[in-house]
């Protein structure tokens, strides 16, 4: 067991180190310089010496290997650096955005998983019937919809025509709401982006659940359960669904890992202050420290989700326990 865990630990450590190095290399592999954001648009007006000075202040005049060592050194001290684009520490920027991303993408993952699981189960149970075909068609339709387009449709319908929801932001910027008002305001702003995300991501969950459910329903033990004379509900929910949930749990884990990556497109359409848009804009402006910080967070959550999956899988599925029993 300890051997197994330490092997795993080393494996993840190597992956993390690799990811950190790639995080450093990738932004710098892009052509162009962050000068415009360091010095402002009028950088052309500055003489060569002034530009060099600006690069110097940010350590960008040093050879790459030196920059890399400085980056590693700072990283191990928990210092992610200072953003070029926004004049703030990268950690501060990320921690300001993280809650919004978790709120939006997290609740979207949970909701779409719930809907996918329930509807997928129903569809599988009614396989071949009209309702199954209708559900299959509509969920596949939703699954294939571009999120940008769907977001715009929702905006023009619910925000522009019906004036039910706001168009941008995560809360009304200039109002200082407190308590219940604040929560309501946030939920009000959340509705449309959340609906967009749920609508486009529940299709995948539905398909996974339906397929897995169908496989399970063909198993002998289901026949056995039916033969025992158990009611339909009991067979579906207690015997079939539980077992069919395993692949869905895998997908959900993967989703959670990718979650902090945010939903760049939806965040853009709704001007939602999430991490996806932040990192996208950092890439456009060659904001190396912010890019490194963002990527680091993404890799860390993916790795973390993997570790959690590794740890809880044996609990979810006794078969894994048996196969890996030889640790």
């Amino acid at each position: 067991m300890i051997k197994y865990l330490s092997a795993k630990f080393i494996q993840y450590l190597v992956i993390l180190l690799l990811a950190i190095s790639i995080n450093f290399a990738l932004p710098r592999a892009m052509p162009g310089t962050p000068l415009k954001y360091l010095a402002g648009e009028d950088v052309a007006l500055l003489p060569e010496s002034a530009r060099r000075e600006i690069l110097q202040q940010h350590g960008l005049d040093k050879p790459l290997w030196e920059q890399y060592l400085i980056y590693l050194f700072n990283l191990f001290q928990g210092n992610l650096g200072f953003s070029y684009q926004q004049q703030q520490a990268v950690t501060a920027i990320i921690f300001e955005r993280l809650p919004w991303t978790v709120l939006l993408v997290g609740s979207a993952s949970v909701l779409s998983a719930l809907i996918g699981i329930i509807v997928g189960t129903i569809a599988a149970w009614r396989r071949g019937k009209k309702s199954d075909i209708a559900l299959l068609a509509s969920f596949m339709f939703l699954d294939s919809m571009p999120s940008f387009w769907l977001g715009m449709i929702l905006i023009s319908l619910f925000a522009v025509q019906l004036r039910l929801f706001p168009i941008f932001g995560a809360k009304t910027p200039w109002e200082a709401y407190i308590g219940a008002d604040y929560v309501l305001n946030v939920l009000w702003h959340l509705t449309l982006p959340l609906s967009t995300l749920v609508l486009i991501s529940m299709g995948g969950m539905f398909l996974t659940m339906r397929y897995s459910m169908l496989a399970v329903l063909g198993e002998d033990y289901i026949l056995m359960a039916k033969a025992k004379g158990l009611g339909e509900r009991k067979v579906v929910y207690r015997h079939a669904m539980r077992n069919a949930l395993l692949p869905v749990a895998t997908v959900l884990m993967l989703n959670l890992g990718a979650m902090t990556g945010g939903a760049t497109v939806v965040e853009t359409v709704f001007s939602y202050p999430g991490l996806g848009r932040l990192v996208y804009e950092a890439a456009l402006s060659r904001d190396y420290p912010l890019l490194q910080g963002g990527f680091l967070l993404f890799t860390m959550t993916v790795i973390l989700a993997n570790i959690i999956a590794d740890l809880i899988y044996p609990i979810l599925d006794p078969r894994v326990r048996r196969v890996g029993g030889r640790y």
Binding site: Q57, I155, V160, F168, P173, P273
Partner: protein, 577 residues
């Protein structure tokens, strides 16, 4: 019958409550707050930390004041300065400040601050530093009088820096040694104070009630940052914001104009869209070839197709027709046949009959046209132009790349001395560059020091000489003559094709505020918009007199409607039994 009565009562009540609610909200408005959406996060809005000339710097200028300020026609007028004198040789400027001007923190603004600003900006380089090159020294004579001595006369001096450089408070900045990393909220002397800034979300400005030019017309300006253009226009449409800093995209103008609560302020826009050549890469070194391309670019069609008419044809001399420096003699010309003749005359012909011409030494006329991937209008312009050039048997491949990558090819490290690596690009300059004709020198002078915007590597000795002469010409009429001549040279040499200037189209909701002033070329985001004696919007203190009257009218109307409805219902019922 009872149902009918209920129905009538309901109507009356609804109308009454709606009126009352409406009146209540009118009475509630005492403070004017304008919600003005902006498109960029301009950081903390100090002269050292903003990023873009527009709209960032415009917001900075709500907080800070300059000594002079351009009027709506871009003619500099005294601002912080009450009166001034210039020596006949233009080398000595005596500037007297208004009395009692205060910084936002209550400290007085004195000539010491003015002197400090000149020295600080010279030391810590920023936008205005090159404009101070001609300054010899600055002396603070007494608390309100400053004298600026120039080494040599500089024609643009009044406009830049005097009417553009924000005056900094000495007591704040003298201890700042790394101004680009200044993070606090700015302290200025301008009509607005920045009271709150949440990065990437919003700014909140409050009127400087002690402003020396009188209290600004709008009490509070809330500025949400909405980067996505379509979202910004939708927010204006639904009334979530009252005005926008981004010029409305031509394709949504018609839609917004249909809404009665929205007014679109239109005026000349000074931002340019150019087809920029790399003049040092053959065959773009051949003047006739560049000229042939320019003959194929139908500017009026571009404006019609891309901008739905909301644009002005590009002058071959670069300067916008609305500028006082414009040379009306240089006119764009379109003629495909002439272009073909011109190509034939320099032996650029299709010898191997593959539909693409070759240069005399056998090189195919096949080029890459770089465009910002973030600018859909420019991408379309590039596509249309590439079709037109196909007619001339020139093959153009449009390549869209992210802006920083395009910049790194066209203008590596924003330093023209570092060379360039492109054939053609859809390029453009921000509005500010049109304000002073000295920009022609910066755009086309062959030396990399003077011509720091010369991304196309244009070279012409005669142009250089005249451009240098123009800066030191004291007589403004004579200067204008030279400037007109410069435009003729540029038009003749075609270092780039000025395609069009996109008109400024600013959407506002006049009900909230209607005092906007359109400054030629740059739009409504200017302190002048909040200075003018405000037209009373909405009518203050009027409601108490009018409201009973309105209520009476509405009650009568409601009763009349009710009576009419009853009568109507009765009549329709009658034939039934």
């Amino acid at each position: 019958m009872s149902r009918r009565v209920c129905f009538v009562l309901l109507i009356t009540l609804t109308i009454l409550s709606a009126t009352l609610a409406g009146l209540g909200s009118v009475r509630g408005v005492q403070k004017v707050t304008v919600r003005l959406a902006t498109s960029t996060d301009a950081r903390n809005l100090t002269p050292y930390t903003f990023i873009f000339g527009y709209p960032d710097l415009c917001l900075v200028n709500l907080i800070y004041d300059a000594l002079f300020w351009p009027d709506p026609n871009n003619i500099p007028q005294p601002w912080l300065v009450k009166s001034f004198e210039v020596s006949p040789d233009g080398k000595k400027w005596v500037l007297r400040l208004h009395d009692g001007v205060k910084w936002h923190d209550g400290k007085p603004l004195t000539s010491e601050d003015v002197r400090f600003t000149f020295e600080y900006v010279k030391k810590f380089k920023i936008t205005w530093t090159p404009q101070l090159a001609s300054v010899d020294r600055v002396v603070a004579n007494d608390t309100t009088t400053t004298t600026v001595f120039l080494k040599a006369f500089s024609a643009p001096f009044l406009l830049q820096p005097l009417a553009s450089m924000p005056i900094l408070p000495r007591h704040i900045w003298e201890t700042v040694t790394d101004p680009r990393k200044f993070t606090g909220l700015p302290v200025g002397s301008g009509p607005y104070k920045l009271v709150e800034y949440v990065p990437d979300q919003f700014y909140r400005f409050q009127a400087n009630t002690e402003y020396f030019k009188g209290k600004p017309t709008v009490d509070e300006i809330a500025v949400p940052i909405i980067k996505e253009a379509s979202t910004m226009f939708l927010a204006l449409k639904t009334g979530e914001v009252d005005a926008v800093t981004r010029s409305i995209s031509p394709e949504v103008v018609a839609e917004l104009e249909k809404i009665p609560e929205i007014k679109i302020l239109r005026g000349p826009g000074f931002s340019t869209t150019l087809l920029q050549f790399n003049n040092e890469r053959p065959p773009f070194t051949v003047k006739e070839f560049r000229k042939a391309i320019s003959l194929a670019v139908d500017r009026s069609r571009l404006i019609e197709i891309l901008l739905q008419g909301f644009g002005t044809q590009g002058s071959p001399g670069f300067i916008h027709p609305a500028s006082p420096w414009y040379n009306p003699k240089v006119k764009p010309e379109v003629s495909v046949s002439k272009a073909k003749e011109l190509m034939d005359s320099i032996q650029f012909v299709d010898r191997d009959k593959d539909g693409v011409r070759e240069t005399p030494d056998g090189k195919k006329l096949e080029f890459t046209l770089l465009v910002y991937s973030t600018d859909p209008v420019r991408i379309r312009a590039a596509e249309i132009i590439s079709l037109w050039l196909k007619d001339l048997a020139i093959r153009v491949n449009v390549k869209t790349l992210d802006p920083v990558t395009v910049d790194s090819l066209v203008w590596p490290e924003f330093d023209v001395a570092k060379g360039r690596d492109f054939d053609m690009t859809m390029w453009g300059w921000s509005p500010g560059i049109q304000l002073d004709p000295d920009s022609l020198r910066r755009l086309f002078h062959s030396s990399t020091d003077a011509g720091y915007y010369n991304v196309g590597a244009y070279r012409n000795r005669d142009f250089d000489k005249l451009a240098e002469e123009q800066v030191v010409t004291v007589d403004s009429l004579k200067r204008k003559e030279i400037v007109l001549r410069l435009q003729e040279i540029v038009a003749e040499d075609v270092p780039m094709v000025t395609c069009y200037y996109l008109d400024g189209l600013y959407g506002v909701r006049p009900k909230t505020y209607d005092g906007w002033v359109y400054v030629k070329g740059t739009g409504i985001l200017d302190k002048l918009s909040f200075m003018a004696p405000a037209p009373p919007t909405p009518p203050p203190s009027a409601p108490p007199i009018i409201s009973p009257l309105i209520i009476a009218v509405i009650i009568i109307a409601a009763i009349a409607t009710a009576a009419a409805t009853i009568a109507y219902l009765k009549r329709t019922r009658k034939p039934a039994p």
